[in-house]
């Protein structure tokens, strides 16, 4: 086993070769930026796929110029076939959930800032950390490659329910090699993320600097720690499920495929498998996964808001405990994805109660965030706007959860656009807003330059209004019974709803275009932005006590000692209304930390 502790790595001195500096880097900061780049590439792919989906939904049989370039068989005459729609949908969700929402808030920001937040020089196992990125990158490449094989990527949804995913190409186009590549990619991805948790958890437990007790860690650090614990137990369950799926698909086993199934008049050779087994395994991973996607964002926006409110949250500990409660409860609720799946209806009721109860920590978090705004001196900038937007989105998404937590209501709303609205609000756009908030906030530290504030605000306004226009109407579609994962609406009762879909499509294209502002701002600021000072936001946590960007060993050989709780704002000190964590200055705190 490796035991290259941070000391050994740091004492070897910074790397000099190009490959060691930028490609196979052991430096957690470079690895964090590599993950960020991966997330950026994945979100662009995921977003473009969603544009294609939305155009097709609004204008189903219309040709989309150039579409044939994306698929050998799925877009003859640039008109999207039904299977191609489903393939795009599957890939959209897969790239977004795995390669954006798990990578960016957790692996990207976490890798860069976790060691700095706890006062360490690096992650405990830099070689494993480097491997974690490259393994994830390989997973990404395998997933992309599925576009170029046979009849294209899998079309079974990111949930890949068996037997559709397990029986093979006989089930139709998109169920051949694409599934195997999907499952292989995801299994590799799980390994990559597990290697990440292998670094995050010991970093928090063992590499904190002098004075840094657990309660003195900033909130994103707690969020990353809790997320790592979830990842540890969730990814390690998805991987065996994917292995069994691959075996069913290529080796003729019958883990998930029942007997006597007839597809295309051919009796399938499998026998005895359990359809629901896949769902249980998948959702045991899947529900914690959605919390893995959102908890880092909660930590990040809390951090951003505190700095911009110039006061700490009402209770640091309550936030941490609530995040922990979300993590623990997330394992008990997964059956709410399976209420009408055919599992024992009593199980449905049993799962619905923890699902309703998980509302409580979520509500506590929202109330603490809002309650902390009271009496604040809120600064409005791109980072804080996105953080506030996060709260609004999470409220909306959480409230729609009231409906979906009840099995009786899911009879109406299961597999409709109501669900699509719910998870986009709670997980997708809230998390994306968390990523944006973190980006605007931490870009100066990561790349040593300031982003353009005006462009950031324009980006915010377009995005905030845009995503509400996209996803709020989906609630109504769901109530009206609009089933999801349909490539076209040929059902009689859905005909009146096509107009709503067109509205959503236009909003989606507009919002997508607005993201170009962000990409432009990112690239331009990266090379030509104002040089950033060490502490542009007058923050208190350790990342602001070191230059922008930080030196190779994070603190320039300085022995960091922490004297204060992480969010000492509203005090009177030599620096103003805040005192940094590593400042020996004793100050009278304006607020009692409960």
């Amino acid at each position: 086993m490796h035991d290259m502790s941070a000391h050994a790595a740091a004492h070897q001195g910074p790397p000099t070769s190009f490959v060691r500096k930028y490609i196979f880097s052991l430096d957690h900061k470079v690895i964090g930026k590599q993950y960020y780049g991966l997330g950026l590439a994945a979100v662009i792919i995921g977003m473009v796929l969603s544009w294609l989906m939305r155009i097709h939904l609004g204008w189903t049989n219309y040709p989309i110029p150039g579409l044939h370039l994306l698929s050998k068989s799925g877009a003859a005459g640039d008109v999207m076939t039904p299977e191609f729609y489903l393939q795009l949908m599957t890939m959209h969700a897969t790239f977004m959930v795995f390669f954006v929402l798990t990578v960016a808030p957790f692996a990207a920001f976490g890798n860069f800032f976790l060691p700095i937040h706890v006062g360490a020089e690096d992650m405990p196992f830099p070689h494993f950390n480097m491997m974690s990125f490259w393994v994830t990158f390989v997973a990404f490449c395998v997933m992309v490659s599925s576009f170029f094989v046979g009849d294209g990527p899998t079309l079974g949804g990111w949930t890949q329910y068996a037997p559709l995913s397990a029986v093979g190409a006989v089930a139709g186009p998109g169920e051949g090699a694409g599934v195997v590549l999907w499952a292989t990619s995801i299994a590799i991805f799980c390994v990559g993320q597990l290697l990440g948790t292998l670094n995050f958890i010991p970093n928090v437990l063992d590499l904190r600097c002098k004075g840094m007790s657990l309660w003195r860690m900033p909130l994103p650090t707690w969020a990353w720690f809790i997320t790592s614990c979830m990842g540890l137990t969730a990814f390690s369950v998805l991987m065996p499920a994917c292995i069994m799926l691959i075996l069913d698909h290529v080796a003729g086993t019958s883990f998930f495929v029942a007997s006597n199934l007839v597809i295309n008049d051919q009796l399938q050779p499998h026998s005895g498998g359990s359809t629901l087994l896949w769902q249980h395994l998948f959702w045991f991973f899947g529900h914690p996964e959605v919390y893995i996607a959102i908890v880092p964002g909660m930590g990040i926006i809390s951090h951003v808001l505190i700095t911009n409110m110039r006061k700490p949250m009402l209770s640091h500990r309550v936030i941490v405990y609530s995040l922990g409660a979300l993590a623990v409860l997330s394992y008990m609720v997964y059956g709410h994805h399976m209420f009408v799946s055919g599992m024992n209806p009593l199980s449905s009721l049993l799962f619905s109660f923890p699902t309703l109860l998980i509302t409580i920590p979520s509500t506590i978090l929202v109330l603490i965030w809002i309650g902390s705004l009271y009496g604040a001196k809120l600064r409005i900038n791109s980072a804080s706007l996105f953080a506030l937007g996060f709260i609004s989105m999470f409220i909306t998404g959480g409230v729609s959860g009231f409906f979906l937590a009840q099995p009786s209501i899911q009879i109406l709303l299961h597999a409709t656009y109501f669900v699509v609205a719910h998870f986009h609000f709670t997980m997708a756009i809230a998390a994306i807003f968390g990523i944006f908030s973190g980006t605007y906030f931490w870009f100066p530290k990561m790349w040593g330059r300031m982003m353009n504030e005006t462009l950031g605000k324009v980006h915010f306004w377009c995005s905030f209004v845009g995503v509400y226009c996209i996803f709020m109407p989906m609630h109504y579609l769901g109530l009206a019974g609009n089933v999801r994962r349909y490539q076209a609406f040929v059902v009689d009762y859905m005909q009146p709803l096509v107009g709503v879909h067109r509205f959503i499509t236009i909003a989606a294209l507009f919002t997508g275009a607005a993201q170009l502002i962000f990409i432009y701002n990112f690239i331009h600021s990266r090379f030509w932005g104002e040089p950033a000072p060490d502490n542009p936001w007058q923050g208190t946590s350790l990342e602001w006590s070191t230059p922008s960007p930080p030196p190779h060993d994070n603190f320039g050989g300085r022995h960091v000692v922490v004297y204060h709780d992480p969010y000492q704002y509203g005090v009177q000190s030599s620096t103003g209304d805040y005192v940094m964590q590593d400042s020996p200055e004793q100050v009278q705190t304006a607020h009692e930390e409960p």
Binding site: M1, H2, D3, S5, A6, H7, A10, V118, G119, A120, E121, P124, F125, L194, T197, L198, N199, I201, P202, N203, L205, D206, L207, R208, C209, K210, G211, M212, S213, R216, L232, T233, F235, S236, V237, M239, P240, M244, L247, A251, G252, T253, S254, F255, A258, S259, S271, G272, G273, S274, L276, L277, H280, L281, D553, R558, H559, V560, V561, Y563
Partner: protein
């Protein structure tokens, strides 16, 4: 006649990370009077935590396989009990023996740490034996598969055989991974410096492979 005195293997004390030598490496602290000079609460090397993280992940993976097995058994009436190849029991003894030889190696390292310069102790030898036993185990598992094949039981023949191959293969892969780690430990011992924590961490992993195998054997014996 000149005799070459073998260079004793270089083994390093478990260092207390943190303290005055750099950043990081502290546990919970913060005395209420704020006197940080009094704080001496160093954390153990992170590899000690890291190995538990890894073992937790591996445990969850096999827990998932176990629950899949139980559910699959109940899903259909096609469970055909298979007799475990006898060689599995031999392999079990081999793997457990390798844990013993690993412990013997660790004891010798401890003696070395105590200051004895008895070059006959040679902890490296016992690490080689452990590696050999590990290879024998994996080879023995392969023989078990061959035996099943000769009985006409392949991966997809029935669910019992599927789980047999799957569980033993995934375990064997982890043992192979452990052998890679053991190679690293031996290399460190001979070339550079072997940290005590590296050896300890590897030992936890290797012993866990043994415990896991005993669990799997019981599972296969009871269920398959």
């Amino acid at each position: 006649m000149a005799t070459t005195i073998p260079e004793p293997p270089k083994i390093e004390e478990p260092r207390s990370s943190g303290g005055n030598s750099g950043n990081g490496g502290f546990r919970s602290l913060v005395p209420s009077d704020g006197n940080l000079r009094a704080v001496q609460d160093y954390a153990p090397p992170p590899s000690k935590t890291g190995i538990w993280v890894a073992l937790a992940a591996i445990s969850m993976t096999f827990a998932a396989f176990t629950s899949a097995l139980i559910v699959r058994q109940g899903a259909a009436m096609d469970w055909h009990h298979l007799t475990l190849p006898r060689i599995l029991y031999f392999n079990t003894l081999v793997l457990l023996a390798s844990s013993l030889t690993l412990e013997m190696s660790r004891r010798r390292v401890a003696v070395f740490m105590g200051g004895t310069r008895n070059f006959d102790l040679n902890p490296a030898r016992w690490l080689y034996v452990t590696a050999l036993l590990g290879v024998v185990f994996v080879a023995g598992q392969y023989l078990a598969w061959l035996q099943l094949r000769s009985e006409g039981l392949y991966l997809a023949t029935n669910p019992n055989s599927s789980f047999f191959y799957l569980l033993t293969a995934v375990h064997a892969l982890h043992v192979l991974g452990g052998l890679v780690g053991l190679t690293y430990v031996i290399r460190k011992l001979h070339r550079v410096v072997l940290r005590r924590s590296t050896l300890d961490t590897f030992s936890y992993y290797w012993h866990f492979m043994g415990i896991l195998w005993v669990y799997l054997l019981l599972l296969l014996w009871m269920k398959l």
